[in-house]
């Protein structure tokens, strides 16, 4: 069977779930941006992001992922370059305190950290795949963590705490599938805890010594503290969370109706089309709308798990597991922060939130899943 014909081995459930999510997301972005100045323009950009995303999706899908296994070095280099690119003078742009945009002539193109997630997944999968499903030597683990360290360090320098957390979650998911022993997770957890604690202390000490806000920015700390007690500052950092909870709660069972959310339309809700798109959904469509959304995510993740299990090789399974962990963590973090379960970080909701880089990256990730599925075990010719 030739290459062309093989592409017809499409995972329809995946495409249907993704399409449903994209339609749902577009509906909500439209509703959230309707009342904004330049709202229609934002909505068109969202649709454009969807359309553009179809290109990398198809290209990645057509591309045989297995070829990538041999490109660890160049891919890691590219990964680092991508994340570093906003730092190159004349190419970077800063938004909300993080230099995370690649911009040319003042026009913000995309956030390189988004595609960098996929590159990191591929590189990490390639490395872990060489351990044949057993990570027993500390040196192997160290190598994986080293690969994580490169993008993570660069991301934290932007600084972008949320994306950093995504990278850690992806790594954890892939180490699980790659065969890391449970006790190592425990050890890593403890070490991580100590490191974070140490970092916070160091941060405080440095801030004091230099009398300057270095390392972890104050607003990031504020957000974390507000997560612990949202009422401590209702008009400041806690305001966003409080308003989000009011939006979601006031949606009750059936919601206020599409486009009728008072919290979102009257702008009590911050960033309703990006970070807080779930709050808009829950306010306008109620608990039923939330259940439908979570149902679609459950379908997406179960289908992903099925694709991971069907891969003809460990490399493919690892890639799919990485993507799946990425989505799971982003869903947890994004929805979690809107309901007060997680600290507020700027993590968007996959397929729902406004944001082209994010949408394109997620569609490319779908392409990777399709690529693994199409070349799965049992398909003739492979």
């Amino acid at each position: 069977m030739n290459e062309r014909k093989r592409l017809w081995f499409i995972n329809w459930p995946l495409l249907i779930a993704v399409t449903a999510l994209a339609v749902y997301g577009s509906l909500m972005v439209q509703s959230a941006t309707a009342g904004m100045p330049g709202g229609p323009g934002l909505f068109r950009r969202h649709l454009l992001g969807l359309a553009i995303g179809l290109v990398p999706m198809v290209v990645v899908w057509a591309f045989d992922y297995r070829t990538l296994q041999g490109w660890i070095g160049p891919l890691l280099l590219m990964d680092a370059l991508l994340i570093l690119s906003p730092r190159i003078p004349g190419l970077g742009a800063t938004a909300k305190g993080a230099t995370s945009w690649l911009s040319v002539a003042g026009f913000r193109l995309f956030q390189p950290s988004e595609p960098a997630k996929l590159l990191t997944i591929v590189v990490m999968a390639a490395v872990i795949a060489t351990y044949k499903g057993k990570i027993e030597r500390p040196a192997d683990l160290a190598k994986v963590l080293g690969i994580l360290a490169v993008p993570l360090a660069l991301i934290m320098l932007q600084p972008d705490l949320g994306t950093g957390m995504v990278f850690v979650a992806i790594t954890a998911g892939m180490l699980l599938i790659g065969g890391l022993k449970p006790r190592w997770f425990l050890i890593l957890g403890i070490v991580g805890f100590i490191l974070v604690g140490g970092l916070l202390s160091l941060n405080t000490a440095l801030d004091k010594a230099l009398n300057r806000d270095v390392l972890i920015k104050q607003y990031q700390l504020d957000r974390l503290q507000v997560f612990v007690d949202p009422t401590r500052d209702p008009k400041g950092a806690g305001y966003n969370l409080e308003q989000s909870k009011i939006a979601i709660g006031s949606g009750e069972l059936t919601g206020k109706g599409l486009g009728s959310g008072t919290q979102s339309n009257l702008r009590f809700l911050p960033e309703p089309h990006t970070d807080f798109i779930f709050s808009v959904t829950a306010e306008e469509l109620g608990f039923l709308g939330a259940v439908i959304l979570l149902g679609l995510y459950l379908a997406l993740l179960i289908i992903s798990l099925e694709i991971a299990a069907s891969s003809r090789d460990l490399f493919g399974s690892l890639i799919v597991a990485g993507v799946m962990t990425m989505w799971t963590f982003q869903i947890l973090e994004n929805i979690g922060m809107t309901i007060g379960l997680m600290p507020i970080t700027g993590i968007p909701l996959p397929f729902m939130s406004f944001g082209s880089s994010f949408m394109v990256t997620n569609l490319a990730a779908v392409g990777m899943l399709l690529s693994v599925w199409t070349r799965r075990q049992g398909v003739s010719g492979y």
Partner: protein, 617 residues
């Protein structure tokens, strides 16, 4: 390569479990928020975006009987300061410079305890535009300071009828705490006079709007629009022309008193009434005050001034709130009562030797004319205000033991509220045995009612106390066939188009049931007072026949008080007037000329100020 799949199975299971756990956790939390706590959040969301905005309703105007504006409203630029700013010395200093006002005055106003603890205090009204502009441009230098447009009362006629109109001010804490108080902080409510009496109609309904606002508080849409309803206009029975004459005549009476060597005269009252309807045409009280002092809240200093003895309590409306001995003016009551009881008759004669010993030598009493009036008929006794005549009549009442004099006086409204529609009236006192016993509860030796008590009452002295309005009412009753009409100052309430929605109709307050013949006799007697008697000097040349009575009251520790009360025309009485001048001397020379001017104004006659000399009582 097949075994990697077997190896991976449990790991996928773990991953699948993580996915289920994550989604389950989210779902549980969302369920709590939306379904369990949903209604509470729905209320919060509603509170977030729905605001109640209230618009003040303009207070109704107060007009005189001819539609002339006595009180209306005007907008003013006011500077209000949050009470928390009291300790910001720098701010107060800056305000002092901008408002050209002493820091102490600003402090006093900010510290006002009459308002709600957190409500902003009005520091200055009628702030010049330059100061408004300066404060607005330097907002950051004036934290807690706000410039507002406020509606305040406007008095186109100045202090005219100040005591009738009363004044309005910010609602007090106690008024707010009344059960079902319709007010909210900062409301302007009537505090005295007509402003207080007719508060319910003058006060409009606040407009209540529910508006949808966005996160920045900007108005989006109006959900519910309750327009403010302006307060009703109130038409008073006051005739501003008569009122002006009355006030001027009262002031002139003070000067007359000063000229007649009664230098302490500074307080008094005068009232003119329509005897058929009870409509008050004019009501004046001296000293008076400037109602403008109350705009934007009265200062402590001014309040002290308006309520102090030193300035003779200018806020007091003496026409209804002060009580005096009626003196000789009460002789009309004693006379009528005597006629009714059959204790005297028009032709009864008395012998006045200037000294009267009817109760025995040791209880001798003098007529004001120590030379004596000689032979006096009852009619002459009224004309000359001969005390001896009324001592005799009074003593007769005493011997009768029936307290008929007191009972008769009460039938004309003495000792009771007149029922006037103004707040704060006092009811005076008709002394009788029961009163004396209870008044001297702790002094048994003073409890017994003595012949002298009735005799003193007969000439309007002793323990008798009347308000100028009561005295006026009694004479109006004599003029009106024995019926005392209920005095009132409200004529109509107008709707927004100026159409009357409420008109007062005449009401009998006291029906004395006196025989028309005796009333007629008394009218004739009273008419002779201004023709040939103690009131002659005051009414000489007056084109309309006036029936009236002078009075000169003795008040312990004070100069004599001058009174005149009467009505005109004698044949078909229409108006009654009372004038009382504290420490003003003689009724005929001080109160009479003032009453003449007021009656002239009521009757549309030429207003003349005459100088009369009279030393009678």
């Amino acid at each position: 390569m097949l075994d990697f799949r077997q190896q991976l199975k449990p790991r996928f299971a773990v991953l699948g479990f993580v996915v289920l756990a994550v989604l389950g956790l989210l779902l549980a939390r969302i369920w709590t928020l939306q379904v369990l706590d949903g209604p509470a959040y729905a209320k919060q969301a509603n509170d977030n975006h729905v605001r109640e905005v209230t618009t003040e309703a303009p207070r109704g105007r107060i007009l005189d009987r001819n539609g002339r504006e006595l009180v209306t409203n005007r907008p003013t630029m006011a500077v209000v300061v949050a009470p928390s700013s009291i300790n910001d010395e720098k701010l107060l200093a800056r305000l002092s410079t901008v408002l050209n006002m002493p820091v102490a005055d600003i402090k006093e106003r900010v510290a006002s305890v009459k308002l709600a603890p957190l409500a902003s205090r009005t520091v200055a009204i009628d702030v010049p535009m330059s100061a408004v502009a300066y404060i607005s441009e330097h907002e950051t230098e004036f934290p807690g300071v706000e410039v507002r447009t406020q509606a305040v009362r406007k008095y186109p006629q100045g202090s005219l009828a100040a005591h009738v109109l009363g004044y309005a001010g910010e609602v007090s804490q106690s008024e707010l705490e009344l059960p079902d108080s319709p007010y909210q902080y900062g409301d302007i409510v009537g505090k005295a006079g007509a402003e207080k009496s007719f508060e319910k109609v003058l006060q409009g309904d606040r407009g209540r709007q529910l508006v949808e606002v966005d996160a920045k508080g900007r108005q989006q849409t109006v959900i519910l629009n309750g327009e403010p309803v302006a307060g009703r206009d109130v038409v008073l029975t006051i005739d501003s022309k008569v009122q002006a004459v009355t006030e001027k005549a009262l002031a002139q009476a003070m000067e007359d008193a000063h000229k007649a060597k009664f230098p302490k005269a500074r307080a008094g009252a005068a009232v003119a009434i329509d005897i058929k309807t009870g409509e008050i045409l004019a009501m004046a009280s001296l000293p008076t005050y400037d109602p403008e002092l109350f705009l934007g809240g009265i200062s402590e200093k001014n309040w002290q001034m308006l309520t102090s003895k030193d300035s003779e309590f200018p806020l007091t409306n003496r026409a209804i709130m002060a009580q005096y001995p009626a003196a000789s003016t009460f002789k009309a009551m004693t006379g009528l009562a005597g006629l009714e009881a059959g204790f005297t008759s028009p032709g009864s004669t008395y012998d006045c030797k200037g000294i009267w010993t009817g109760m025995g030598e040791q209880w001798k009493k003098y007529c004001w004319d120590h030379a004596g009036h000689g032979n006096e008929t009852f009619m002459e006794g009224i004309r000359d205000s001969c005390d001896t005549v009324f001592y005799e009549i009074g003593y007769r009442f005493y011997r009768d033991k029936g307290e008929k004099l007191q009972k008769f006086a009460r039938r004309f409204g003495f000792g009771a509220d007149s029922g006037i529609d103004l707040p704060g009236e006092v009811s005076g006192r008709i002394p009788d045995a029961a009163w004396k016993a209870s008044y001297n509860e702790n002094y048994p030796e003073y409890q017994q009612w003595l012949p002298g008590d009735t005799v003193n009452l007969a000439i309007g002295q002793g323990d008798l106390l009347v308000t100028p309005l009561q005295l006026l009412d009694a004479y109006a009753g004599i003029a009106n066939g024995g019926k005392v009409m209920k005095p009132h100052v409200i004529k109509q309430v107008l709707d927004a188009q100026g159409t009357p929605i409420l008109s007062t109709s005449p009401e009998v307050a006291f029906d004395s049931k006196t025989s028309q013949g005796n009333l007629s006799t008394m009218k004739t007697a009273l008419a002779s007072v201004t023709k040939d008697g103690t009131g002659k000097g005051a009414f000489v040349g007056f084109p309309v026949a006036v029936a009236g009575k002078t009075g000169t009251a003795q008040v312990t520790g004070k100069d004599d008080m001058a009174l005149f009360v009467g009505f005109a025309p004698v044949e078909k009485p229409r108006y009654a007037v009372v004038v009382v001048i504290e420490e003003g001397g003689h009724g005929g020379s001080v109160a009479g000329p003032a009453a003449r001017q007021i009656l002239a104004a009521c009757l549309g006659q030429k207003i003349e100020h005459v100088t009369a000399t009279d030393a009678s009582r």
